[in-house]
């Protein structure tokens, strides 16, 4: 082949080639699982029909922020804050619950339903890695509802303000609070809904069970609050994730509950709710790990 005047032409071997490149192990496996599940949560790389519900719900969750920004732009008033960051959750709580019901079974039960679990567990991945990857994926997906719209709102408010620097100076503390509250809310909802979804391979049961968890806990909490007095009536608000989250957000923002609301009636110190949220998140996550450690595949 060294001679130039030889006609150029080669036949290449299309046979099997070995792979000699790097093998990146558990951490990489976990990261891939996380990204794959996160994409799956929004139906990316899937047919259009699997994108509609999660993306529509995420849009609904961003709508209050968009409206506020729009109103701010037109009216151009510093003081017209219809939606305070500590109240944002009140507008989107149903969207968050529906998102969990629709997406958690997709994130968690799917591999059990399609019997893909043995493929994961026979690879360079531990069962606990699998669960943590899935938890992280749903948590991140929920941040698109609980954190991203508010962050945009915060930035938008600042930029729309006639005195941006003044706005940032006065309100900069809101940003870490938005981050913290968004992360906490997402953590509780992610771990609770995954715990429920992990109990069954059947998607319909999982969706229904997640909704049932939210609806029934709210009904019970509300009925008990309205029925019993004393410690029982006070503690009833701890039975529903919605009130726990609401109260934790208020605590993070050092704000108070509206008078007349269930939280105001309960009159418990904020750190109790924060502790409840952390405990519930941790216990739920631990239970999911435990379930997957034991599941036979």
């Amino acid at each position: 082949m060294s001679q130039r005047d030889e006609p150029a032409g080669s036949i290449y071997d299309l046979g099997y080639r070995r792979y000699d490149g790097p093998r990146l192990g558990r951490r990489h496996a976990m990261l891939s699982l996380y990204l794959f599940s996160l994409r799956g949560a929004f139906g990316l790389g899937r047919r259009t029909s699997s994108k509609i519900i999660p993306i529509a719900i995420a849009i609904i969750a961003a709508t209050p922020a968009v409206i506020q920004l729009g109103v701010g732009a037109i009216v151009s008033s510093e003081h017209l804050h219809v939606i305070r960051p500590e109240n944002y959750f009140n507008f989107i709580q149903i969207a968050v619950a529906l998102f969990c019901a629709a997406v958690a079974p997709e994130v968690m039960g799917r591999d059990q339903r399609t019997r893909t679990l043995p493929l994961y567990f026979s690879r360079a991945l531990l069962r606990s890695d699998y669960v943590l990857g899935k938890l992280a994926a749903l948590w991140t997906a929920l941040l698109f509802l609980t954190f991203v719209p508010q962050a945009l709102l915060f930035l938008g408010n600042g930029m729309a303000s006639s005195n941006s620097t003044g706005y940032w100076r006065d309100n900069w503390m809101d940003f870490p609070r938005i981050v913290a509250s968004g992360a906490l809310v997402a953590a509780l909802f992610a771990s609770l809904s995954l715990l429920v979804a992990a109990q069954t391979a059947r998607r319909a049961y999982a969706t229904v069970s997640v909704i049932a968890l939210f609806v029934i806990s709210s009904v019970i909490s509300e009925v008990i609050s309205g029925t019993a007095g004393g410690v029982w009536g006070q503690a009833a608000v701890l039975l529903t994730p919605f009130e726990v989250v609401r109260a934790t957000i208020l605590w993070v923002f050092q704000s108070n509950a509206e008078s007349g609301s269930a939280l105001a009636q309960a009159d418990l110190p904020g750190y109790v709710f924060f502790a409840m949220l952390c405990a519930a998140t941790a216990i739920a996550a631990w239970l999911v790990v435990r379930r997957y450690e034991r599941i036979a595949v």
Binding site: V208, V223, A228, W232
Partner: protein, 245 residues
């Protein structure tokens, strides 16, 4: 009815984890009634028992959830698991299969909810005259279970997503639409059940109100049950195996 199918279905419905979950559900009204009894602040026990315990917790939540789970599982799980062929390839009419399945779903739902009503109600109402509230809800719940189950058994033959469809009916249609549009009450088993319960009590309208009159509610309930059962029998008689088997 066929005794072998009845026994089989009873084991199917009662021997599983979801039945245990339902028993826990059924205990919730009892727990709340206990709380009410010892910590309650409401002055009118009959009013609380009828509206909060009866209409809201039991008829509004426990009854439809128990019925949708038992009703769709009785026959639906056979289609889902592929065991239906064992029943349908036997020399017995398909109407018997439907009726046997419905009977067990009804008995399971009815027994569970009835127990919850009677125990929770007896705790909440204390010793004052109860103006027929306990009896009213007991009878209404027994009848309501049948109406719900017949509809859900029908759904389980018509669609493989009967559970979801059933829950949409319960929560969206009965829960939301009926609250917004009063006219939809004629298609709400929850309203039939409350109507029948109210009919059997001697409470005043201010203590406990129903949207449908007693006779009207009962008639609608009977029509609904018979219609759903008849359609279920017809649907199973025409049932064909899916392409997947």
């Amino acid at each position: 009815m066929n005794r072998a199918i009845v026994e089989l279905t009873a084991r199917q419905l009662l021997g599983q984890r979801r039945s245990l979950l339902l028993v826990v559900f059924a205990l919730i009204p009892v727990g709340i009634a206990l709380l009410y009894r010892f910590e309650g602040q409401q002055p009118n026990h009959v009013q609380w028992t009828a509206n909060v315990l009866g209409a809201r917790l039991i008829v509004g939540t426990l009854l439809p959830i128990a019925a949708v789970i038992f009703g769709t599982a009785a026959l639906g799980s056979e289609f889902e698991d592929g065991t239906a062929v064992y029943l349908l390839s036997k020399p017995l009419s398909r109407s018997r299969v439907v009726l046997s399945k419905l009977l067990v779903a009804w008995l399971a739902t009815g027994a569970l909810v009835l127990a919850s009503v009677l125990v929770a109600g007896a705790i909440a109402i204390r010793d004052i005259p109860d103006q027929g509230v306990l009896l009213g809800f007991a009878v209404a719940v027994a009848a309501g279970s049948l109406a719900y189950c017949s509809v859900f058994v029908l759904l389980s033959i018509l669609t493989s997503r009967a559970l979801i469809t059933g829950l949409i009916y319960v929560f969206i249609w009965e829960g939301l639409m009926t609250a917004l549009f009063s006219g939809t009450k004629v298609l709400s088993i929850r309203q039939y059940t409350i109507g029948v319960a109210k009919w059997l009590t001697t409470t005043s309208e201010r203590t406990f109100a129903a949207r449908l009159d007693g006779p009207e509610a009962l008639a609608l309930m009977v029509v609904m049950s018979i219609l759903a059962t008849w359609l279920a029998v017809r649907a199973l008689a025409r049932w064909e195996i899916g392409e997947s088997g």
